[in-house]
């Protein structure tokens, strides 16, 4: 197979040298900033985020604007076939993150055959696309208890089904999955193109179980940047783990070699929750109550009694059930998770209500010391619960980074 597909950056180059220079410079900045560690934050110039590294990109990477997240069921029972797919996926993912088309491109030479690449990303920048791969509990033992791939012995203890939380109304069709891919990019079409092409490559071996589009980031891993607002109009997650804080990442996000299992060292755990917001009732709530619910002022995002968003909060100034007070690390024995959620709006439901909310994504070194205790506390007491409901849920183990061109997603798990 010859590499004939023009990269998106090259296509831009044909259109104008200035643009091409800009994109190349952005890519260069990205590489320089991240060095060997592909997960470092990058400049926001439409360039490429390195695919290879010690950790997978798309976790500590500066949060991109758009998301397409997909969970897959593995439909084959053939271990070799699954491994073959993971290799094929890795190759396609590496190409797409560089802004290249998959396979022989989107405009192949055989008119009788459909092109390998679906084509909608032709001419677009790499847009800092990251593709982050994970494996769910059912890959190790399916819901019927069957160990389809001889992996049961390799399942980490932490990768158990999440407990049921009070108030959950989980839809099985929007929950769980054997595999997941998180596609983040600054251009929505680039993210959708990536998931679409991976799903297509996977047909016959995997099938999309559910997928979620996110149109706006709700968290930032770059403390200097503005904290984005969620669909309720509030800044939330101000105290997120910065992608540049190596010590915090090591402590809270990456699975250590000591904790193991070995195949997961340098990886992480991802909790994905589809949190529906009761938008219409929230909008009718007085400003005072809205601010009480969060424990911040709506305009600036400052904690109660403070001037600025990043002022150290005085938790006691907030109501006991205020969201920030309950979720703050100081109320939870220092527990922190790296949040990477996105706002979603999937049109309206049959009753004319906006089907909108937060697609919550949180990375952590161990869910039992991360999301689970946090959510236990929030589900029990959070004032926000009156306006939200968790309707989808999934947990994945996120393997370490793909080291080089010979490495592939999940290699350490399967070998």
């Amino acid at each position: 197979m010859t590499d004939v597909s023009p990269s998106r950056r090259a296509l831009i180059g044909w259109g104008g040298a200035g643009l091409a220079l800009g994109a190349a410079a952005a890519g260069g900045t990205a590489a320089a900033l991240s060095g060997d560690d592909s997960t470092g934050p990058v400049d926001d110039g439409g360039g490429a985020v390195p695919f290879h590294g010690a950790h997978q990109a798309g976790i500590a990477t500066a949060v991109q604007d758009r998301l397409h997240f997909a969970a897959f069921d593995v439909t084959t029972d053939d271990r070799a076939e699954l491994i073959g797919l993971l290799k094929e996926w890795t190759e396609a993912a590496a190409r797409m993150t560089r802004g290249q088309a998959v396979g022989d491109g989107a405009v192949g030479d055989l008119v009788e055959a459909p092109p390998d690449d679906t084509g909608e990303a032709l001419g677009l920048k790499p847009s800092r696309l990251t593709l982050t791969f994970g494996v769910g509990p059912t890959l190790f033992r399916d819901k019927k208890g069957k160990d389809r791939f001889g992996l049961a012995g390799r399942r980490p203890e932490a990768l158990a089904d999440l407990p049921a939380f009070p108030g959950d109304d989980l839809d099985a069709a929007r929950s769980d999955g054997d595999l997941c891919v998180q596609a983040c990019a600054d251009d929505p079409q680039v993210a959708v193109h990536a998931i679409r092409n991976l799903a297509r490559i996977g047909m016959g071996k995997v099938a999309v179980r559910w997928s979620q589009l996110g149109f706006g980031k709700t968290s930032s891993t770059t403390p200097d940047a503005q904290t984005p607002r969620n669909m309720m109009g509030f800044k939330d997650g101000t105290r997120n783990i910065p992608g540049t804080d190596a010590a915090a990442l090591t402590k809270h996000v990456w699975v250590s070699e000591k904790a193991g299992p070995a195949w997961l060292a340098g990886g992480s755990y991802l909790v994905a929750r589809r949190i529906r917001m009761h938008i219409e009732t929230w909008d009718r709530t007085s400003l005072k109550e809205q601010e009480d619910v969060f424990g911040r002022d709506k305009g600036e995002g400052a904690p109660y009694g403070k001037q600025h968003e990043r002022d150290t909060p005085n938790l006691k100034a907030m109501l006991p059930d205020a969201h920030v007070r309950l979720a703050h690390p100081d109320s939870n024995g220092g527990i922190r998770v790296l949040r990477r959620g996105y706002s979603f709006t999937d049109g309206t439901d049959g009753l004319g209500r906006l089907d909108a909310g937060l697609f919550f994504l949180a990375y952590q070194h161990d869910v039992r010391e991360g999301f689970v205790p946090l959510q236990r506390r929030l589900a029990r007491s959070d004032a926000l619960n009156e306006y939200i409901q968790h309707v989808g849920s999934a947990l994945f183990a996120i393997p370490p980074g793909v080291r080089d061109a010979d490495d592939w997603w999940g290699r350490a798990l399967f070998t």
């Binding site: 439909t75 055989l110 009788e112 055959a113 069709a173 297509r200 047909m203 016959g204 099938a207």
Partner: protein, 377 residues
Amino acid sequence: MRAARTSVVAAISALTTLTAVAGCAEKSDGKGSDAVQVTASDSACEVSKTSFPAGHVKLAVENKGSKTTEVYVYAPGDRIVTERENIGPGTKAVVNAEVKAGSYEIACKPGMKGHGIRQKVTATGKGKAAERDPRLDKAVAAYRAYAQAQADETLPKAQAFADAVKKDDLAAAKKAYAPSRVGWERTEPVAESFGDIDPKVDVREDGLEKGQKWTGWHRLEKSLWQTKKITKADHDLADQLIKDLKDWRKRVGTAEITPTGMANGAKELLDEVQTGKVTGEEERYSHTDLVDFEGNVEGARTSYRLLKPVASKNDPALAKELDKQFAAVMKQLDEYREGDGFVSYDTVSETKRKELSDAVNALAEPLSKLAAAVVSK
């Protein structure tokens, strides 16, 4: 049926270089130096020359046998370029055709049936098509025979359905409905290539254009299952359906069929399943979608089997995958068999429908690569 599609014929004629305009029969005796003399008997079909220039060709036929005969001109893959039926013993006829450069066969059919006694002839001239792999010509001819057999077998079944409608026998008509559609569903891309028949027999209510009268199977389906009443208008619709299906049966032989067309037709059948059957849209009143589903898959599998000798040589991995995925889809369908048909599709849950959809995707994706495997060397 799909609401809008590029007809297979349009797509194929862009690719083929063997397009020939069908001629018409004349009554004059056509004697002349440029005419090809065809002497038909009960056991022979002699031609005065086996090579002639491309363009307008005149066949001067004389039936010296004791049986009534027919004369056909076939392009590769047994596509009928022109034909003349009912040439009685001792009579003459002239058959005209416009042919492009390439290989053809002239066939006499004493007794007006069977494969005929054939002579290979060549139309010479510029732009002669590259010779096609004879295995592919064989595949096309075999597929045409399959399509013809499906049409032939459909007519009595459709007649039984129409008869039940005309006797106002609701139960019998419902029972005969789905089986009457199987042959059509198996070979739908061929039927759809005659742009005018599909909108008459297989259109759904939402596929109607402004001013178009709703006729065909699905109109009757609505009467039988939705209004549960057979009207006088339905009797006429039943007659019309038979008339239109007879037209279909007659035209199968003239359809442009190419190897890539067969491959893409197989893919289109799976498209039909994915967009119409898995969703339950096709048979929204009768819920007999799984019968159509199986017909579509069987038709696609027949195309594949006929192309497999070439495809498996060019792309062995693809052939292996297709064998596997065809088997997987059929195995899933087996779960829903009931009596000599299938369970009503409205009893199939959303979860199970997704399983069917996944299986169809798993098959359709590699099937979309079959055409390339047929043309690549």
